[in-house]
Amino acid sequence: MSWIALRMLTGDRSKYYGIVFGITFASLLIAQQGAIFCGLMLRTSSQIADIQGADIWVMDPGVQFVDDIKPMSENELYRVRGVEGVGWAVRFYKGLARSRFSDGKFQQFILLGLDDATLVGAPREMVQGSLDDLRQPDAVIMDEGGYKYLWPNEPFELGRTFEMNDRRAVLVGLCKASPTFQTFPIVYARYSQATMFVPRERKLMSFILADPAPGWTSQQVCEQIQQQTGLLAKTREEFIWTTIMYYMIRTGIPINFGITISLGFVVGTAIAGQTFYLFVIENLRQFGALKAMGVTNIRIVGMILLQAFVVGLLGYGLGVGAATLFGELSKENMTLAYYMPWQVLALTGGAVFFIGILASLLSVRRVLVLEPGIVFR
């Protein structure tokens, strides 16, 4: 009976396309908005994820997320280094710096200050120049996206200068960096250099980056640091999630995206559900004839579920495919946050499954209560 169900479905082209369109629309909207939401959330923590090599972040106990800087005194670094289980620990500066260019324009940067000796937290991939050049006086490295933002359509050119806190900064390299939530250009400098690019304060150290000693896990060392210093210590993964959860809970982003996703779901359900329902209603006589000819209710339900499954699968594939294509085409656009993890695909699949079930249940009910005698009326 499966082939009969499928031929019935595809035979009415306009309704068939209408149902597939409805589900495609819902899938596209849910997957695309979900991916943009995930992309945005990822950006909130991209600076944590970008820093490799140190698995432990130590910070003031009042810090709630990565951009919530509460500077610590230098003494804290030595206290952390003295905690049992800490392999090594280095200072890390993170803050906003205002720069001034020769043409009089101002621009805010995300300024990252790396430990002078080890350069822990340095960018992983250089586009131009060398990481070692950061050791030169006044040297800074800028992320590729920031350079393109500041000097659009201009070739990469090292040696450009600008001022931060009345100090000269020289661009010695360009690197790759994940886009950030704030979208400001990212500038890397040595810690000692970075602290001169911002107004002097009594405490300047934003974070301490550390790694466990051999035989210790990051989790154990975090607990040790918290117990012995009273500072807040998190593994890299934990800090990423702390930051993401802060934005999820304390900002309106999830609600706004949730509304769009819900609208996509509702509109998709309405279009697909209504069209599928109409499709079944218009075929009631045919279903009645099949029942009269000896098709059981279970087989009829099976036929309707198969039809719903096929349009659901098609709509899901087309919708997710279109969302993926959108993501691929907009990959070069740094301002668009787009990240599609498997969870978004699963969520979209679940929503489509629900739409299919809902549409089927409404239709199935009509067919089940249908008297086969309708064929004689």
Binding site: R7, D12, M293, V375, F376
Partner: protein, 255 residues
Amino acid sequence: MSALASSAAPTSAAFDGTHAVCVRELSKVFGDGDGRVTALQDVTVDIAAGEMTLLVGPSGCGKTTLISIIAGLLEPTSGTVEVLGQDLGRLSNGKLVRFRGEKIGFVFQQYNLLPALTAAENAAVPLVIAGWSRQRAVARATEVLDSVGLGSRARSLPSQLSGGQQQRVAIARALVHEPRLLVCDEPTAALDAHSGHAVMELLRAVAIQPDRAVIVVTHDSRVFEFGDRIISMSDGAIERIETPAASMSGRESGT
């Protein structure tokens, strides 16, 4: 072979097996209270195998209700129906559905062909329901279509066929699984006189077999001549049973 009928309840005659359909004291009431409608009242009738029995009467006289109950599509309020020796009232719903699928063929007034299937595929549907593979069912259906003169249109969609041709496909579909009872509801109502005549000729030619009963509901007096027996109904009861010749002469004499 004969048809025996009584509007009043006769004795509870035992089903003797010589008739394909035995109906006893059958009543059907729709609704209740002020909306109560008695569609059939104490109908008793036997329908013989090997014959074409016409069920005639004005609209609303209960013809459709009677064949719906005989075909197992509707439950009676009271009375019994035995089809091919099987008391339908004693069958569970599942068994009744299976019985209908195996033993009864249907020809509907509006054809009820599936618009997306070809003529051969439409005719193959009862075999597919019975579990035949698609290929085998369509091959068999094509042979049956040949017998109704539509072999060359086996691959046509219903929308590409005339009304008469669609009804031929419906007849092929009704006969493809070789049912023992064929129920036809107004098979000529949607056709012009010529096509209607052709369909009835075809029914007589291919449907009537010694072990098969054919019941045709119609109010088209032009096709009365094709029946072996005519059961006239009025107000939910059987008025009379006669042969076509008697019916014709009765109408000619005004009785």
